[in-house]
Symmetry: D2
Subunit: 394 residues, 4 copies
Amino acid sequence: MHTFHHPDFTAARFADVPDARFVPAPADGVLPDGFFTTTNLPTYVRVAGQWRLPAEPRMDAALVLDPAGDLWAREGRRVRAGDRVAVGRAEDGSEGIFVHAAVFAGDVDGDDEFQFMTSEVSREKPIDYGQMARLLVDERERGGYVVWVAGPAMVHSRARADMTWFVRHGFVSAFLAGNAVAVHDIEASIYGTTLGMTERGQASAGGHGLHMRAINRVRAAGSIAAAVREGTVTDGIMHAIVEQGVPFVLCGSIRDDGPLPEVLTDAVAAQDAMRAHTTRATMAVLVATALHAIATGNMLPAFVMEDRATGRPTSRPRGTSPADWPALHELPTICVDSSEFVVSKLKDRGTHQAFGVVTNAQDFLHILRLYVERELDARVATTATRTAAEAARA
Amino acid sequence: MHTFHHPDFTAARFADVPDARFVPAPADGVLPDGFFTTTNLPTYVRVAGQWRLPAEPRMDAALVLDPAGDLWAREGRRVRAGDRVAVGRAEDGSEGIFVHAAVFAGDVDGDDEFQFMTSEVSREKPIDYGQMARLLVDERERGGYVVWVAGPAMVHSRARADMTWFVRHGFVSAFLAGNAVAVHDIEASIYGTTLGMTERGQASAGGHGLHMRAINRVRAAGSIAAAVREGTVTDGIMHAIVEQGVPFVLCGSIRDDGPLPEVLTDAVAAQDAMRAHTTRATMAVLVATALHAIATGNMLPAFVMEDRATGRPTSRPRGTSPADWPALHELPTICVDSSEFVVSKLKDRGTHQAFGVVTNAQDFLHILRLYVERELDARVATTATRTAAEAARA
Amino acid sequence: MHTFHHPDFTAARFADVPDARFVPAPADGVLPDGFFTTTNLPTYVRVAGQWRLPAEPRMDAALVLDPAGDLWAREGRRVRAGDRVAVGRAEDGSEGIFVHAAVFAGDVDGDDEFQFMTSEVSREKPIDYGQMARLLVDERERGGYVVWVAGPAMVHSRARADMTWFVRHGFVSAFLAGNAVAVHDIEASIYGTTLGMTERGQASAGGHGLHMRAINRVRAAGSIAAAVREGTVTDGIMHAIVEQGVPFVLCGSIRDDGPLPEVLTDAVAAQDAMRAHTTRATMAVLVATALHAIATGNMLPAFVMEDRATGRPTSRPRGTSPADWPALHELPTICVDSSEFVVSKLKDRGTHQAFGVVTNAQDFLHILRLYVERELDARVATTATRTAAEAARA
Amino acid sequence: MHTFHHPDFTAARFADVPDARFVPAPADGVLPDGFFTTTNLPTYVRVAGQWRLPAEPRMDAALVLDPAGDLWAREGRRVRAGDRVAVGRAEDGSEGIFVHAAVFAGDVDGDDEFQFMTSEVSREKPIDYGQMARLLVDERERGGYVVWVAGPAMVHSRARADMTWFVRHGFVSAFLAGNAVAVHDIEASIYGTTLGMTERGQASAGGHGLHMRAINRVRAAGSIAAAVREGTVTDGIMHAIVEQGVPFVLCGSIRDDGPLPEVLTDAVAAQDAMRAHTTRATMAVLVATALHAIATGNMLPAFVMEDRATGRPTSRPRGTSPADWPALHELPTICVDSSEFVVSKLKDRGTHQAFGVVTNAQDFLHILRLYVERELDARVATTATRTAAEAARA
């Protein structure tokens, strides 16, 4: 059990502190403007020159000085008109109230202020699609290298069309995934199902064999690329990737059926193939996969190096003096999963820069595409306006 | 441990069954067209008039008859060119292969066919926004009564703008929630934060008291409606609800700060207030709340009654003979949550008609609105076309 | 929207049905003994020879016939002393009340009775450790082949001692895992940490490199077995496995550091190695791993074949007639995970026989061991009693 | 995108720093003892008096200086015998290698060291039952006030017997829960089911009405206490609580059936009743409930005040000078849930002192009881030894 030390109110910084100010409540259950809101931490209130601790401490209450001179933490609804209620917002003692937040320093966050909503990843936090869209468009504009990593839920949830859009529009520099993503994407192209499930989410009669038939079709063709060329695979993510010439790595796992011809079944060879992309990455988007996200996180630096001479990202920094060293930027790493757990796990494996988005793959890609389209429109509009203005000036 | 019974192959339905057909594999690791895909269930193969069980049974394999006459379940990658592989899709024996799916009847699903993706609720299943949008627009068109039930994540995740849109456009017949939803919606209107968190998801300095200040402002005004009228609350869900005159019920809980004036702190009174809406409901949308979703589920019938005389939904059916009885429809009940658990729990409490959507509130409302807007546009276009066609005919 | 059909009350089975019986409530808010409890399904009540639907239908209510002759579903708390309340438990009409459960047949469960708690996997369901313990002891006694599959949470959560106990006491026929399980088990043996985390769950200074040092020690020794022999690894799961000569398969993945020498980095070779065990399995215990659990589930048959001639489990069934066919039993498959999702996913991949246990690895192994110890004691006691009795008889 | 600043190596603390030391690898894929393990942060290596950044940075790698004088981060498996590998553990530059951890200061944790497993709550972390058992026994010995808060999963999962044990043995000073906990506990006592589910986890025929019948029995008796006295309720948690005279608060919610007579249906009255216990609490155990755990967390101070005069905990501190002020201790707050989310949510609502245990209620109570029994035995043994020793001395 941790024991806390009281603050030293003889310290210089408390020398000129005034008494806390109390103001009558305007009505039953209504607090005066600027009332002080309590926390659950030890709180000291200066009354008649003396520092005192209120009775019945709790958070989200007001501080009431009763007629007998006793000091209470009391819920607003229990305050009666005329009750003397402390006002002030400062928690550092400067207005006569001191919240002893440092008691937990070290235990919790090293952060001395009492706050709500401090968790790093939560489904209760807003997702800033605008910022992610700007990052993606920026990367495309400046020739960055955006590595996408995907799990099979992306395909099951029918985010294929939106993922395909990102591939076709130049937002995907490399695509890292496993056998299953490619298998179900190709199954969807040939049979309209994933693991036999229709796009309405229903299991289909005879459906359990369809992914095996899809695999066999590609094995017969010799490769995914060949299956695209010969017209066996006519749409979807792998189709777009082959047509656009986007490099991809399909890493094998013991869960794989088949596997497809391009799958690297050796985990060491697969890591070597991934490294060719992780060392070039200037941004990473990890969607709906624990295994591949953590594997990629293990290999990604937390930063991007930009060569000062060329202005280009580099994995081979030059120079032995600060003037030659590359500029360093954080490597934006977005991790999308239906639960907070994968992002926490990723951070627990050292990928502290990961930014968690708790949602499903289908919705994520759909909205992100929408925002990217808006961002592109906005930039076109800005450019057009600027051009017109310049033309007018000329 | 369950013991299974072998099927009775002397039964009439097996009388004229042919031998299974075997076809040579065209290449190493490639199966012949129409190959039979195994399951993990007992499987019987008719060879030379005899029913036999393959060795090393597993799912996702092929059936191979080796030169020694032994029968194997074997992964496609291990099949060599020329190996004899069973073909056929029928699992009922009609093509010489019988999958004994009934062994699990009763244990699992009462469903005799081996299938993948049979779970009722999963983040891996596609969300059919188009269908939900059609339902909502249908309900508005036919004067249905759509009850919305919301939890605070809806507000934290900044789905306020989209929820407000649904209120303003007539898709919300009643709004059921708790104190926190209204508090944080109003905090967002006054201070731009929820529980002190900014819309970028950051905790703000001094933010922990903002929801208390928001509550106090409304208590001082006397009611949410008054706070809207006097200009304290200028946007958001509650603002729209008050302006549109949408009935709402805010149910109290022990978690509540304040509470706000309109909150019904008595759980029995709150249930009575909810019943006024659940008995009229023709559709329910439950977003990001376990407590309120299950409470509402407890009170909702699984069906809607439609009076045959008036054509209107009714909670007081008339008649003692089938001709007078109301028509019955399923009551569409959409339950949105970040995890499968809430929907499973809702079903475990008897709300079997609930349709689960595993995503977050922000994304759900954003995409649903998009689809509803498209549906409305499509219907306008259709009507315009029809009107034009009729005008042309006239 | 589904439309339901009313039942046909002219059918023979309704011919001799009586009117529903109504009994006065004994006090305000108290229902008579044997009161009928409503569901949320369409319900028909026979009053004066006529079938009627109650007003305001909902579940968990009573059926009240008011003085005006109107029929209501009403919560017990709203019933007043003397109100006439329907009694009876039968829902098939035989006591004058018919619950139309079949409306949902096909949609939901194919099960016609309204029930709570029907989900297959839920943290809210009791775990039957006694049954699992009996299965494990039975398997050991009859020479079964129990395959254990483990994920790294087993080691992080410090279930090592209990897992080691199972290995040492002959309950583990084969151990399938990945590189990480072995690495962290060995890190714990050498350094007392897993990924640098102490057994109190704290990150340790300099700890991020300890798993790398552990790997390097084993690579220097040449193999895990060599590291055990030379005294580098002195306790834990891998130590016990090597000492007991339990066969193990460590399957590689792209997430692996190192890897350790015994790891099969090729996914196809790893599957082949796993098959040597899955084809012999008579029971499977899958703990805290999605990847390995699903991979193993893919390879496991849902059943065990027992040769009638030898009485032993076999993967190569003989015979072409029922008399020769092996006996078939369900293959007990226990899947332990902290969330319902992995078990649902496993079932969605066809491993329908999986029995889900929602808890963490540490607690699961600790309690299971306790129950197995009790089961062993009980069997010893029974044998002793029986032997004594036989001795007395002799 | 964050831009980082390079460290200033002209600073005094880097003045006497040596070059990094490189040692040849002893064999292919084996690193020299004491090798330096990389992180994913910017890392500077002093070579020939110059600070340099390695190429292809990543975590979990070694630093290799190749024959051409280039510096690489390279996985151990790719190192060949004789390659020059950096050794050293210091990351502060004192051995010639500097890890620039401060780049993320402020962004992440304010903690400058790269570490794994830093998340606050995770199913992957060990649960220290021994510590919790010692706390509980300490509290009983010193007359502390342990508040237990429970959700219905405790009853569904059949932790009733263990919870009853804690009540009977004096570890429960107050019990806070909702209607459902008491209803299902009583249903289990009367009918052997919870929500109609048997203790084997099966839904039972006719079971959906059993909780309603249990409620009605208690309402007929007039109170839970009366139902215990008259023999309607003969075992379980509520039975033990009534018999032991443990104070309890059952708080109403809109999800409640019935409710039971003792339930406080008014949320404000319920909070007032809870406050009588939260202001006295010296320890809190919150099991399997989000609503009640967060409600209690809102009301609990993060600390216990101990009056110096009486040595007893107090909620009404005296004194205006440090000598009179009570001693302050952290209030141990244990939060048990199947997912990390509830604990994170609790912390996000300001209960930063909460200590999360991710497991299910059944296993938690079973193991905790076991450890408490062991702790009691150990203390008895210690006392006996001490007494014997003292007797011997006398």
